[in-house]
């Protein structure tokens, strides 16, 4: 396939379940090596979109192309090129970590030596022979990542990868995702965590009720939709939250400056959560 062709191309994708329209005609592209975030509240259509892109659900209408192949017609050619870190920790609990990886190495036709490499990569060598049911949540999540990397996928989907993890494990995982993106793997991420998306993604799309309501780089979205704010600390030790786009607040700041009342000013950039609230009218 053409090296400049997008890793994922979605055109007017619709997916309905009975009378429920889970995805309502969304379109977007994801470039090769891009880390792309799909954000939205529960039931917005994120997981459905991933299900279609990974061949586990058929589109009702529209087209989805992954690595140049149509998901409806060429899923057998797509499957070896992709992998997914599931939202649930769906591992074989009565098998050891190593056995879990071996099963999937065989399924993907990958040499067994790859299992050892992955165990080292996710730092699970010491517990590789232990049954998965004895693993902590963080260890399971690392094993899930290793499993998803077993076939060295060109496109890696991650569905809420840090949900339920403690802060340290979540940070480790974000570092791993960032390094995958840096190494050229296309990463397609869904998350509730706006800070995570802001930190990891080159571009994000906001999905609300099955429709994309905004799509751009996080900074652009924050500048376009987020409120520009500042916290002003006065000499009387009172803090004031100022909206910079509000003329009345701007006049108050000017007056405090003129009267030498201002001790400090801290600007606050809008967050992706602000963007989502502005777009969808509800918090996450």
């Amino acid at each position: 396939m053409d090296g400049d062709a997008p890793a994922i191309e979605v055109r007017d994708l619709v997916k309905t379940y009975g009378s429920v329209r889970a995805v309502r005609g969304i379109s977007f592209t994801v470039g090769q090596g891009e880390v792309f975030g799909l954000l939205g509240h529960n039931g917005a259509g994120k997981t459905t979109t991933i299900r279609v892109l990974t061949g586990r659900a058929k589109p009702t209408a529209g087209q989805a192309i992954v690595q140049g192949f149509d998901v409806t017609a060429d899923m057998d050619r797509i499957k070896p090129l992709i992998n997914l870190v599931f939202e649930e920790q769906n591992l074989y609990e009565r098998f050891s970590g190593r056995e879990n990886l071996r099963i999937f190495a065989r399924l993907y036709g990958v040499p067994a030596a790859r299992v050892d490499t992955l165990l080292e990569q996710v730092d699970l060598v010491a517990v590789a022979r232990r049954k998965v049911k004895t693993y902590s949540t963080g260890m399971r999540q690392r094993l899930l990542i290793a499993r998803a990397l077993v076939n060295q996928p060109r496109v890696l989907f991650l569905d809420e990868p840090t949900r339920g993890l403690d802060p340290a494990s979540a940070r480790d995982l974000r570092e791993m995702i960032a390094s995958l993106g840096a190494a050229g793997t296309t990463v397609f991420l869904t998350t509730h965590d706006m800070d995570e998306a802001d930190q990891l993604c080159h571009r994000v799309a906001f999905l609300s009720q099955g429709e994309i309501v905004a799509l751009d780089a996080p900074r652009e979205l924050k500048l376009r939709f987020g409120e520009r704010r500042a916290t002003v600390l006065l000499r009387d030790r009172h803090e004031h939250d100022i909206r910079l786009d509000d003329p009345a607040d701007a006049a108050r700041v000017s007056a405090w400056m003129r009267d030498d009342q201002v001790l400090t000013v801290h600007s606050r950039e809008g967050s992706l959560e602000d963007v989502f609230v502005a777009l969808a009218g509800r918090g996450l």
Partner: protein, 364 residues
Amino acid sequence: MHRRLITTIFFKDLLDAIRDARVLVAFVVPLALGLFYNVSFDNQDPGRPSVQIAYFSASPSGLPDALREVTGEGATLTFVEAADPAAVERQVSAEEQEIGLVVLAGFDAALLAGQRPTLTVIEPGEPNFDARLLTQAVGPALRTLSGQVSPAVVEVESAGVAIADSTDILGQVGFQRYSVLASMLFVIAMVTVLALPVILAEETEKRTYEALVLIAAPADVIIAKALVGFVYSLVGAGLLTVLTGLYPADPVLYVAALLALTITLTGFGLFFGGVFRNANQINTWSGILLIPIIGPVFFVGLPAPNWADALLLVLPASQAMRIALNALQGTALFGGVAAGFMVIIAWGVVAYALLSWQMRRRSR
């Protein structure tokens, strides 16, 4: 269909099933039941009475052989030599033997000479069925010994296919063989309709199924599970055969019956595995699923109302039991073997049609 994917999933499930206590219990319990039946009931064919006889003869006599000739295959006679007539009486009264015979010196020669020598038959106070059987055989045996022949030749012919009288199936097959065979079908039912759905439902419940179908097709996963069902069923049936020595007279018909039932029930098991979304639900409902499938097996050939007999004719497991009983004995205890296979196959078609419909729904 991808062979590498199917074999990988198959071996994974084979190993996982051994590690899963629920699956192991479903496999081991009916196996243990079959072994229990095998050791608990007399190996002797219960349809063939066994008579223990205290015997004293003052001179050599052909009476034991004549009695054996008269009873033929219908009974097993065991003669226990006693030292004297008093010992015969003592053994019978002490219930060490069921009946006693005292033969005087020159008895056989006297018979042949047309004399009427005395033969003493010592019965217990309350003679049982076996003792009465021997008493009734004495008269014909003495006629044989005296050289008399039957006044007519009696030929017994069978008209058409012999249909078993439901009251004497246990008599013909023996309770031990009947119950061990029923346990064998129980093994197949437990594996296919309980263990197999548990394996599949757990895959769905834990969402590992989703991980498999990222690379495999749903059909690959289902075929692998079906193979697990076949292997465990046939291993269970094979083990029970070897451990109990229940070797059929017609092995081809026997294996065909078990195989047809396994294939059909595997279809239902896979369907149930998709209907129930978790293994606990299957455990909860397993009784209701298993009773109509395995229950009829234990009524085949036994006295039952007409409607129950009719029901047994349209159920797959009872048909498999009828065919397997025929194969076990090597005789047509039950008629309609071809119709029996048709019934089993028809249920199989229903099962796999339901499974196919379910898979199409899942892939939407």
